[in-house]
Symmetry: C2
Subunit: 118 residues, 2 copies
Amino acid sequence: MKNKEEFIEIQAVLDAFEIIGGKWKFPIIYSLCQSKKRYNELQTDLNGISPRSLANALKELEMNGLIKRDAFATVPVTVEYSLTKYGKELKPVLLSIQEWGKKHRKKIIDEIKNESKG
Amino acid sequence: MKNKEEFIEIQAVLDAFEIIGGKWKFPIIYSLCQSKKRYNELQTDLNGISPRSLANALKELEMNGLIKRDAFATVPVTVEYSLTKYGKELKPVLLSIQEWGKKHRKKIIDEIKNESKG
DNA sequence: CCGGATCCGCTTAGATACTG
DNA sequence: CAGTATCTAAGCGGATCCGG
């Protein structure tokens, strides 16, 4: 580390990961970017997340003020999760990750094609 | 999930996290964004990462073509890690995370101030 | 039935000590 | 200096169960 400024910069990244680290936080937020979702919709979107992990992640995200949980006393219960205004500030981050993910996917596919070509 | 397109989008995020998920990958890449670094410099930058976790993360990042490892037969050995061209494509992602991290830090500090004000 | 909580086992991450 | 070995702690997933 060279100086105090650089320390703060990397500390910002580390801090961000205290909140949005873990395997599922980003995908959850990404899913909620599109629209508010119910518990089961999230579970489907996230393609096989366990209920335990989903519940934990949602609780932490709510504690940190990134998402909002609304429960309606219907029968059966309806619970909706949505991004808070603060959570929406993560959108640019999400979009850049997703863009990189698409590029990466393309790269992998190209590599496989080249291998089979010989 | 509503349609196939949305599935691909979220899948891109999931895929990205296969590569750059985990607690330390982003901070490592962030640190290497600035300049190439030696093993111990990274350990210092990352403020307390264990050697094991650092070694593991570096190995995975190298396997995925994001970073490059150069060893020089000096005594003692010198090893330098740097971003590959492909790894550098993550810079925009890093910058947006870091920006959010700074915002978040400011928010937390403000909240603490307001609490102590009463 | 929906939204979780709980129990269990496996995999990943971390602390510390030690080595080429 | 740049890691590995070992042990322990935390996180994740699967199945099952419970309250409304």
